[in-house]
């Protein structure tokens, strides 16, 4: 469009005869019509070349991030795990791991199939990390697993973008390139988030996703905890004249635990006599909303593949227990990168909201469950 505009301007100048009736004005006229014809036939292709260049620029950055991710992972494994052999080859193999989700043609029982596959994946990942880093303790193993998962995500993002870029180049199809070009800003944002998450995971720094776990940790700190379900802890805490069962994933290693099983177990232990369940989690904010903004609602505030949400909802329906949710708003970048001050400061607001919910929705002497959901990396109890 700019070229056409420039040529139009030049043609106007020529029309005003700045050089007289010379051969130059004739050449410019021919040039203008030639460009016009070229744009009619090759305009779309030129547009595609511009798009491909944009994708190519991002692809360079993705490649750089992916390679940095791999390098950090290998370095961290060497530092923490002190392996006998070079872990690079094993890391490369790990980066290509995949998980096939269960067949959904007959959806009955799909949750249990999905849970089984996720359990197998988890065990396999932990075993691989232990082989790569034999000297790592449990906390470090969990952190290394998270680091590897971030590196895997970066590797996958790079490969998908590269796939569309090369496919677009091969087929000369504008629509193939357009698909990736349109979502590229969001993809890059996610990749940058994972890049900053790598160091956080490697060093065991708390991340934005741990907002829920941090709230639970603040509530149960100083009280005796016991293990409940897989990688989860619960503490019985006196709370505004009620008895609160505060649940979180077991920290400080990178872990989300199985809060679905934990909530179910506490409900069963109390024969369903739970006045309310309050779940706290980090949630994605919309553009324009403030980071660390606290909102309140109803429903099971938990992300992931859906297995835990299903289990929680099943238990609640069985005993007709009301469920409340308090969320801390943050964007995808903040969720996986080191905890930001705004999110940390929002914890006190969340606790105030929980108090309000418990006071308004339950009676003195009631039993309540407060579950802090999220990755508890860098957060103890």
């Amino acid at each position: 469009m700019n070229t056409i505009g420039l040529m139009l301007g030049l043609q106007n100048q020529v029309a005003q005869n700045p050089f007289g009736d010379s051969s130059i004005s004739w050449i410019l006229n021919v040039l203008f019509y030639a460009v016009f014809v070229i744009f009619i036939f090759y305009g779309q292709r030129l547009q595609m070349v511009v798009m491909l260049r944009e994708v190519e620029g991002s692809l360079y950055k993705l490649k750089y991030i992916k390679e940095e991710g791999r390098k950090i992972t290998v370095q961290t494994i060497k530092e923490i795990g002190k392996p006998q052999a070079d872990p690079a080859a094993r890391v490369d193999r790990f980066l290509e791991y995949f998980t096939i989700s269960p067949q959904g043609l007959d959806p009955a029982g799909i949750v249990w199939k999905l849970e089984h596959i996720l359990d197998v994946r988890d065990v396999r990942f932990k075993d691989e990390v232990k082989l790569m880093a034999p000297s790592a303790n449990e906390t470090q193993t969990n952190n290394l697993e998270n680091t590897l998962e971030a590196a895997m995500a970066l590797n996958y993002i790079y490969k998908v973008v590269r796939h569309y870029y090369l496919l677009g180049k091969k087929t000369y199809s504008l629509y193939v390139v357009m698909q990736i070009q349109m979502i590229l800003p969001m993809v890059m944002k996610e990749a940058e988030a994972y890049a900053s998450a790598l160091k956080a995971f490697a060093y065991g720094q708390p991340i934005g996703d741990g907002a829920g776990a941090l709230v639970a940790a603040k509530l149960l700190h100083g009280h005796e905890t016991r293990k409940i379900a897989k990688d989860c802890v619960v503490a019985t805490v006196p709370f505004e004249g009620r008895t609160a069962y505060v649940i979180k994933a077991e920290g400080p290693g990178g872990n989300v635990g199985k809060p679905g099983d934990a909530i179910k177990e506490v409900i069963e232990e109390n024969d369903g006599k739970i006045a309310t369940v309050v779940m706290i989690d980090a949630a994605l904010k919309l553009e324009g909303e403030n980071l660390g903004e606290v909102a309140e609602g109803v429903g099971a505030a938990i992300g992931g593949p859906g297995v835990d949400q299903y289990k929680i909802e099943e238990s609640l329906v069985k005993y007709h227990i009301p469920i409340n949710a308090v969320i801390v708003k943050e964007d995808v970048g903040d969720a996986v990168s080191p905890l930001r001050k705004e999110i940390f400061d929002s914890v006190e607001n969340v606790i105030e909201r929980i108090k309000q919910v418990v006071l308004e929705r339950t009676k003195e002497g009631d039993k309540v469950i407060i579950a802090g959901i999220g990755n508890t990396i860098g957060i103890g109890q």
């Binding site: 900053s196 060093y203 080191p338």
Partner: protein, 137 residues
Amino acid sequence: MTMESSNNQRSKVSSSAILTLFMVLFLSLVALAYGASILETQPEIAYFVLLFGFLGAAVVLYTLIQMKRRLSRLKIVIPPVTTTIECRKCGFKNVREFQPGDYIFKEVEPCQKCNDKMLITAIYREIKEKEKDRFPF
């Protein structure tokens, strides 16, 4: 923290591309100088030479700006993470850089004032926000 040195990033720009750019820039400057020198005697040719000189210089400038933007985008900057350690007994507070192994609610070295055990109470990073866009929403 920058993940890779800027020297390494610079190597991603090919030297032949930079050489070509500087050649075009040199030719553009020559054209501008020549155009200016013949402006009085041969204005018809001078306008054309000046036009091409300006166009060449503009293209080189645009390409260099784009190149610089691409290089700056390659840097991944992670702001420092701080750890706050507090003494629950006397309230003494110490803020230091995060060290591997730190976690919230970890008991650390004894308090300098009362010798009681200190606790890590906060780990976070602080980002100075850029001036907000002036949207009325």
